[in-house]
C-alpha cells in the first residue's frame, strides 16, 4: 500500500522532471537586463514600498503562461502557426513585423546589459560584446536542442546569485515582508510609472511565442499537461521571488542611504560595493547571466516564430541553404543587436524605451488573439477555458492592456515630450 503510493509519487516526480524546462526557462528569461533594471529602479527609488505588486504580477503571469502551455500541449502547434491558420496572413505579418522590432530592441538592451555588467569586471565592451555575440550564435547553430536546454536550465540556477547577494547585505526583512502584503498607492507620477513598469516588463509578447513553441518542441502531450502546468506555476513564482530579492537588495543598498534614480542596472551593482565584495560580484554576475541568457533566447525565438508564421523553413537542424531566411533573421538580430551597442553615440536608452512602447502596442494584440484561440472548440476540444478562467483571463487582458498602454504613454512622453 505504502509502497504503491511511494511508487506513484516517484513516477510523478519523474514526469515533473521530464517536462521541466519550457515554463521555467521562460519565466527566468523574463528577468532579463530590462527587468533587472526596472526592479532595481523600484527598490532604489521607493525602497520596500513597491513589493506588493509582485503577488498580482505572479497571478497575471501564471494565467497567461498557463494558457500558452495548454494551447501548445493540446494543439501541438506554435502560437504563430495558430494565429496564421485562424486569422490569416495579413494579421500574422503585422504581428510578426512588430515582434521583430520589439525583440530587436530587447536584444539590443541585453547586449547593453552584457557590456555594462562585464565592464564591472573590467572587460571593455569592444571585447565582451563581440565575443558574447559569437558565443550566442554558435551555441544555437552548433548545439542540439537538448544540450542547449541543459545549458539554459543551468543558467536558471545562476539567478540564485541575487538571493545570496540580497542576503549578504542584511536588509530589513520585517519591512520587506510587511510591504509585500500591504498595497500602498501614492499619487506620485514617478511611483505610478514604476508600478506600471514592473508589471509591463514582466509580461512580454515574446514569452507567449517562446513558451508555446518550447512546449510543442518538447512534445508535451495532453496527458502530461498536469505536470506541465505545475512547472509553469513554479517557474512564475521563482521569477517573482528573484524579483523580490532584487528590489530588496536595491532598497537596502540605495534607498536607505538616499533614494535616487539609477541609470542602468550596473549602477545598482556599483551601489552594493560598500557592503562587501561578494554582494557586488554576485549582483554583477547575475546581471551578466540574465543578459546573456535573454540574448541567446530572443533571436532564436524570433526567428522561429516569424518563419513558422510566414511559412518559411525553420529549425536549427536544417542547413543554412535549406532555411536561409531563418538563419539570416537569426544572425542579423544578433549582429545588429550587438553592433549597435558598440556604435559610439547611438541613442541606446531611447531605443530601449522605444522597445517598451512597441511592447505596449504588441502585447494587447497577442493577448486578445490568445484568449480567442484558447476558446475555439475546434482547436482545443474539452480544453477550452472554463467560464471562471475566461473571466479572469479577460480581466487580466484588460488590466494588462491598460497598464502597458499607460507605460507606453509615459515612456513616450518622457522620451519625446
Amino acid at each position: 500500500m505504502a509502497g504503491a503510493m511511494l511508487k506513484r509519487i516517484r513516477t510523478q516526480i519523474a514526469v515533473f522532471f521530464a517536462v521541466i524546462g519550457p515554463g521555467f526557462i521562460t519565466a527566468m528569461v523574463d528577468n532579463d537586463a530590462g527587468g533587472i533594471f526596472t526592479y532595481s529602479q523600484a527598490g532604489a527609488r521607493f525602497g520596500y514600498l513597491p513589493l506588493w505588486t509582485l503577488a498580482p504580477i505572479a497571478v497575471l503571469l501564471v494565467i497567461t503562461q498557463e494558457m500558452n502551455s495548454r494551447m501548445g500541449a493540446v494543439t501541438g502547434k506554435g502560437l504563430s502557426d495558430l494565429i496564421r491558420e485562424e486569422f490569416g496572413l495579413r494579421v500574422t505579418f503585422l504581428v510578426m513585423a512588430l515582434l521583430v522590432l520589439t525583440n530587436f530592441a530587447n536584444v539590443m538592451a541585453n547586449f547593453a546589459g552584457i557590456a555594462s555588467s562585464l565592464q564591472l569586471f573590467a572587460v571593455p565592451r569592444w571585447v565582451s560584446v563581440p565575443l558574447c555575440a559569437a558565443a550566442v550564435w554558435l551555441l544555437v547553430v552548433k548545439g542540439t536542442y537538448h544540450s542547449v536546454e541543459k545549458i539554459f536550465l543551468g543558467a536558471c540556477v545562476v539567478y540564485a546569485a541575487y538571493i545570496v547577494s540580497a542576503l549578504l547585505i542584511e536588509p530589513d526583512w520585517r519591512e520587506a515582508a510587511l510591504s509585500s502584503v500591504q498595497p500602498v498607492l501614492m499619487l506620485d507620477p514617478a511611483y505610478i510609472a514604476i508600478l506600471i513598469g514592473m508589471v509591463g516588463t514582466s509580461i512580454a509578447p515574446w514569452m507567449q511565442f517562446y513558451l508555446q513553441a518550447a512546449v510543442v518542441e518538447k512534445g508535451i502531450s495532453e496527458r502530461e499537461y498536469a505536470e506541465s502546468r505545475i512547472e509553469v506555476i513554479v517557474g512564475c513564482i521563482a521569477m517573482v521571488v528573484i524579483a523580490f530579492f532584487i528590489v530588496v537588495a536595491c532598497a537596502r543598498a540605495i534607498w536607505t542611504t538616499g533614494p535616487r534614480d539609477i541609470r542602468e542596472a550596473a549602477d545598482a551593482a556599483q551601489a552594493l560595493r560598500p557592503f562587501g565584495k561578494y554582494a557586488y560580484l554576485l549582483f554583477s554576475a547575475g546581471l551578466f547571466n540574465a543578459s546573456m541568457f535573454a540574448a541567446s533566447i530572443l533571436p532564436l525565438s524570433t526567428a522561429y516564430s516569424v518563419c513558422e508564421g510566414l511559412g518559411f523553413e525553420t529549425g536549427v537542424n536544417k542547413r543554412f541553404r535549406e532555411a536561409p531566411i531563418f538563419y539570416w533573421l537569426y544572425t542579423l538580430l544578433i549582429v545588429l543587436g550587438a553592433g549597435v551597442v558598440l556604435m559610439p553615440g547611438f541613442p541606446l536608452v531611447r531605443m530601449i524605451l522605444l522597445s517598451q512602447v512597441l511592447n505596449g502596442v504588441l502585447l494587447p494584440l497577442v493577448l486578445i488573439f490568445m484568449v480567442m484561440l484558447v476558446n475555439k472548440k475546434e482547436l482545443m476540444g474539452e480544453w477550452t477555458n472554463a467560464r471562471w478562467q475566461n473571466f479572469i483571463a479577460w480581466t487580466s487582458v484588460v488590466v494588462m492592456i491598460g497598464l502597458t498602454l499607460a507605460l507606453a504613454g509615459i515612456t513616450a512622453r518622457d522620451a519625446w515630450g
Binding site: 496564421r84 490569416g88 495579413r90 505579418f93 496527458r223 511559412g311
Partner: protein, 412 residues
C-alpha cells in the same frame, strides 16, 4: 499556353450577369474533389445579404477585368461537406509537398484558365509558397491587380504542382468526402516521411499513421524520434498500433513499446500475432542500455557443419532479410555460437565447402547484459558491421548492427 490567374486576383473580382450588370464580388471558390480534383466547381459570390453559388458551367469568361456569366439561374450558397473551399480550407494551412518532401504553408493558389464547352473554367495548377506569394497576399486589394503582377516579377516564384500536394485532414469522414488519400506518402522513403510527420501536429500525425498501410507506417515509425513514437502509438487504435508494431523489426518494436506506459504496451502486445509478440516480449525483458535491448532477433544461423550450398538455400528461404544482411552465424545443436561467416566469402568457394572453414578468424561476441557503452567501443575498436549477442550459456540470442550503434550515438 493557357493564361494564369492567382487566387488573390480572383477574390474580389466583379461578377456580371448577361447584361453586364454587376451582381456581386467573388468571395471564395471551391473544388469538389470527388468529381474533379483540379477544376474549380463552384464560385461563391457575395452581394447583398447572402452568398450565391455559381456553378462552373455558368461562367462565360474569366479575366482580370471580371467574371461574366452566361446563365443567371443562381442558387443561394449552402455549405456542403464535399466542397474544398480555397480560402477557408486551403489558404494559410499546412500541406505536404510530396515531391519536395516537406511540410509547407499555402500562401496563394495559381490557376490556369481553360476553355471547355464554350465556358471558361479554372484548373488548379500550383500552390504558391515563398516571398512572391506573400507579397501578393499583402498587397491584395491595396494595389491594382496588374501592378501587383508587374511588381512581383523580380522575385523568383516558389510553387508546388497541385499533383504533388497532399492535404492533411484529421477527420476520417471528411477525408472520404474530399477524396483525400495518403497513397503518395506510402511511396516516399520512410526517413523522409518520418521527417514530415515530425513537423505536423499530433492529430495530423495520427491521421497519417491510421491511413497508410501498416508496412509503410512501420518503416516510417522506426525512423521517428523515440518519444514521438510513443505518443503516436498511444494515439492510434490498439488494433492498428499492433499491426504497425508487428511490421517493425523486433528490436525497434521493443524500443518503441518500452517508451509506453506498461498498461498501453501490454494492450498492444495482446493484439499482436503470436510469433512477433514472443520476440518482442523477449527483447522487452532486457534492461535499457544493454546489448540485449539493442539487438535484433532477425538473423540467419546455420549448423556448424553446414555447407555453402546449405547457406545458399537458407538465403533463398529468407528473402526479406537479404537487403541488409552481411554475415551468417554458425551454431551447434544447442544453439551455442560457434562462428561468423562474412557473406561475400560464400561466392569465392565451391558449393560443397564447409562454412566452418570460411569463418572469420576471431569470433567476437558480447553477453546480452553488456553495457551499451562497451558495445559501442567494441564496434569502434574492431570496425564492425555487426556483432552477435549471446546469453549466459553462450547461445546466440541476437545481433547488433551498425545502424543500431549510429542511433545510439545520435541520441547522445
Amino acid at each position: 499556353m493557357a493564361e494564369l490567374l492567382y487566387f488573390t486576383e480572383l477574390v474580389g473580382l466583379g461578377v456580371h450577369d448577361l447584361k453586364g450588370r454587376r451582381i456581386g464580388r467573388l468571395a471564395d471558390a471551391a473544388l469538389v474533389p470527388l468529381i474533379d480534383s483540379g477544376r474549380i466547381d463552384r464560385y461563391l459570390v457575395g452581394g447583398g445579404w447572402a452568398w450565391l453559388t455559381v456553378r462552373h458551367e455558368q461562367v462565360r469568361s474569366i479575366s482580370l477585368d471580371g467574371i461574366h456569366l452566361r446563365d443567371e439561374h443562381l442558387t443561394p450558397y449552402h455549405d456542403d461537406e464535399y466542397m474544398l473551399r480555397i480560402a477557408r480550407d486551403l489558404l494559410d494551412q499546412q500541406i505536404i509537398d510530396v515531391d519536395g518532401r516537406k511540410v509547407v504553408r499555402v500562401n496563394d493558389v495559381t490557376f490556369e484558365i481553360h476553355r471547355e464547352n464554350g465556358c471558361e473554367v479554372l484548373r488548379v495548377l500550383e500552390v504558391d509558397v515563398g516571398i512572391r506569394s506573400i507579397f501578393r497576399r499583402l498587397s491584395q486589394g491595396v494595389l491594382p491587380r496588374r501592378w501587383i503582377r508587374r511588381l512581383q516579377r523580380p522575385v523568383a516564384p516558389n510553387s508546388i504542382r497541385w499533383e504533388h500536394c497532399n492535404i492533411v485532414e484529421p477527420d476520417p469522414r471528411r477525408r472520404l468526402r474530399l477524396n483525400i488519400s495518403y497513397r503518395m506518402l506510402e511511396e516516399m522513403h520512410p526517413a523522409d516521411l518520418a521527417d514530415i510527420v515530425e513537423e505536423l501536429a499530433p492529430e495530423e500525425r495520427g491521421a497519417i499513421f491510421e491511413t497508410i498501410d501498416s508496412e509503410a507506417a512501420a518503416d516510417a515509425l522506426s525512423e521517428v524520434d523515440p518519444k514521438m513514437q510513443a505518443s503516436i502509438l498511444e494515439s492510434l487504435e490498439t488494433g492498428k498500433a499492433a499491426e504497425i508494431v508487428e511490421e517493425m523489426a523486433p528490436d525497434e518494436a521493443a524500443d518503441a513499446l518500452a517508451e509506453l506506459e506498461e498498461a498501453t504496451s501490454e494492450e498492444i502486445l495482446e493484439e499482436m500475432d503470436v510469433e512477433p509478440k514472443a520476440e518482442v516480449r523477449e527483447l522487452l525483458e532486457f534492461e535499457q542500455d544493454t546489448a540485449g535491448s539493442l539487438m535484433n532477433t532477425e538473423y540467419i544461423a546455420l549448423h556448424e557443419n553446414a555447407t555453402v550450398a546449405d547457406a545458399m538455400d537458407a538465403l533463398k528461404g529468407n528473402q526479406d532479410l537479404l537487403e541488409n544482411l552481411s554475415t551468417l552465424f554458425l551454431i551447434d545443436q544447442d544453439g551455442v555460437l560457434k562462428g561468423a561467416v562474412p557473406l561475400g566469402r560464400l561466392f569465392a568457394v565451391p558449393a560443397a565447402a564447409r562454412l566452418r572453414e570460411l569463418a572469420a578468424g576471431t569470433l567476437l561476441h558480447v553477453p546480452a547484459g553488456e553495457k551499451q557503452n562497451r558495445v559501442v567501443e567494441t564496434f569502434d575498436k574492431y570496425n564492425l558491421l555487426n556483432l552477435p549477442v549471446t546469453d549466459e550459456e553462450g547461445r546466440l540470442a541476437g545481433v547488433i548492427t551498425a545502424d543500431d550503434i549510429i542511433s545510439v550515438l545520435r541520441q547522445r
